[in-house]
């Protein structure tokens, strides 16, 4: 009889073995208070020593929007989209939610080495907590965004309520991306170096600052491709909902929901299947 059989005969379980998926998700659900508390306290801690404190949550993206707006406003001249300031504010603020989720999500395991090495809990709690943190940052940002849009002259409409389901679906998408990123950087740390580049590529290809339809007017096949670009879909829907006189293809809701569910499910499975690997220090 081997030791393994001996252990089995005495009803001992292998320590650190990956639980089944339903069990794993139930365990993670049991740790939801931990994920939320960690998100809340990290926001508090990161701004605590700045004089302007929490205000930085608004100031940073506002300055970003101003800078990008000024540069790309001048560069694009007459070909810039209508209501350009609104266009940029919506684009920059929503893209920020995606890029911080992806970047911080990707570092959520590798950046918490000491925690992963000392306490046992479902590791999915870490990327989830990161995305919760970004969502908690996004909600007041959306408030500020709405104020800016009102100041820029947009009327309040019922359509604005569409932002609520949009943010919900967007969060699911970002969580999926964060989960995939979190596991990939565990295997290949070097990816962290490429993340800023990758973020920038997405930034310039999602139509954050310019209208894809105008820029690529002479290549209709390329515009057709952008119907399936998830970030382009989010920004189009948000602009359609918030800005006066902007329309979007209602099919974008379907496309983006399919994207989100697919990325989320893939992310959970991909992350869960390497659960035993995250504690290793190499």
């Amino acid at each position: 009889m081997s030791l393994a059989e001996y252990a089995d005969r005495n009803r001992l379980h292998r320590v650190g073995a990956r639980p089944s998926l339903p069990r794993y998700l139930a365990d993670a659900w049991g740790r939801r208070d931990f994920a939320i508390a960690m998100a809340k306290y990290k926001i508090e801690a990161s701004n605590q020593r700045n004089r302007l404190g929490m205000l930085w949550i608004f100031i940073k993206p506002t300055l970003n929007a101003l800078l990008y707006g000024a540069i790309f406003g001048i560069l694009q001249g007459a070909s810039r989209p209508e209501n350009f300031p609104m266009y940029v504010v919506i684009g920059v603020f929503l893209f920020e939610f995606f890029s911080t989720s992806m970047n911080n999500g990707a570092k959520s395991i590798t950046g918490n080495g000491a925690l992963v090495q000392s306490l046992a809990f479902p590791r999915i709690t870490l990327p989830v907590s990161t995305v919760i943190q970004q969502l908690m940052t996004l909600v007041p940002m959306l408030g500020v965004m709405v104020v800016y849009i009102l100041l820029l002259g947009a009327p309040i409409t019922v359509e604005w309520l569409l932002m609520i389901p949009l943010v919900a679906v967007f969060t699911m998408f970002n969580l999926g991306v964060a989960l995939i990123g979190a596991r990939l950087t565990v295997h290949v740390r070097d990816l962290t170096q490429l993340l800023p580049l990758f973020t920038r590529i997405l930034f310039y290809t999602s139509g954050v600052l310019f209208s894809i339809e105008t820029i690529l007017a002479s290549h209709p096949w390329a515009i057709a491709l952008f119907d399936y670009h998830p970030l382009h879909e989010v920004l189009s829907i948000a602009r359609g909902a918030l800005m006066p006189g902007v329309d979007y293809d209602p099919m974008y809701w379907l496309y983006f929901s399919v994207w989100s569910v697919a990325v989320f499910v893939a992310g959970v499975l991909f992350f869960w299947s390497a659960e035993e690997r995250y504690g290793r220090v190499d």
């Binding site: 001996y6 001992l12 208070d33 960690m38 508090e44 306490l119 046992a120």
Partner: protein
């Protein structure tokens, strides 16, 4: 294959020595290897040439080389060995934090390390860190509210609990971390004696608290460099040397043999 026959023989002995006691932890031929990116040149004369390194300066550290033993209910097992012998790796593998490269650990319940430091955030107040640390240990919010006063009192931080933890002295921080970690009871517990912290008075109190936790836990592993506390509290001692289980048995015999090599 010769390996497995050997474990088979060991097992027969173990079964005999078990006397019907219930095993709670079985460690089966445990290997742990770390792959480390080595910087600089290896020390001359260690016999490691460039060829032996597996490309790109990656060196493999074989921290545990086939450790096997069985721990039974209500045993108090001391773990000794010099620095770098693999004690901490063994303990981290026991709790499932470091995955083994080969072999496995089986247990009746998940073993736990006593410690919570890594979950805390220095920029937050002691109060909030109690919340965060408690949640990290798996307590519910209600349970933490019930434990809060005891933790603050034990850490002797009543006056400072609303200040950021980074403003605490290192002793105060260590006290808070210990007080949070020590609030939880475990079935199989691993205690690193280096946890007894602070000034002499607090050290006495934390040692007493560790003893209390140990008495309430089912099975305890005690990692310590103090042979006195090992002999005082343990019913069995395991000696790890260079990643190999050197000796396992009666505390007095093992500690004597260990100290013999230190002379």
């Amino acid at each position: 294959m010769a390996e497995s026959t050997k474990t088979g023989v060991d097992l027969a002995n173990q079964d005999a020595s078990a006397n019907g006691r219930k095993p709670v932890v079985v460690v089966d031929d445990l290997h742990v290897k770390y792959r480390v990116y080595a910087g600089g040149k290896p020390v001359k004369g260690t016999g490691r040439s460039l060829l032996k390194r597996s490309g790109g300066g990656i060196r493999e550290v074989h921290a545990l080389k086939g450790v096997s033993f069985t721990a039974y209910e209500n045993e108090s097992i001391g773990v000794i060995g010099s620095n770098g012998s693999g004690k901490s790796t063994l303990m981290r593998t026991l709790v499932g934090l470091t995955p083994p490269s080969d072999g496995a650990v089986y247990a009746s319940a998940r073993p736990n390390l006593l410690g919570v430091g890594a979950a805390l955030i220095p920029d937050l107040s002691g109060e909030k860190n109690i919340q965060l640390g408690g949640l990290a240990l798996g307590f519910s919010k209600q349970e933490i509210n019930g434990l809060r006063d005891d933790i603050v009192q034990f850490a002797e931080l009543e006056e400072f609990i609303d200040l950021p933890m980074r403003t605490y002295s290192s002793g105060m921080q260590a006290r808070l971390k210990f007080a949070i970690a020590a609030s939880k009871q475990h079935e199989i517990l691993i205690v690193d004696e280096a946890l007894a912290v602070g000034d002499q008075r607090f050290r006495k109190r934390s040692e007493a608290r560790i003893r209390e936790i140990r008495e309430n836990a089912g099975t305890v592993f005690l990692v310590s460099h103090s042979m006195k506390s090992i002999l005082d509290t343990c019913s069995r001692v395991i000696w790890i040397n260079k990643g190999v289980l050197q000796m396992d048995g009666d505390p007095k015999e093992v500690v004597d043999a260990y100290q013999e090599t230190k002379k």
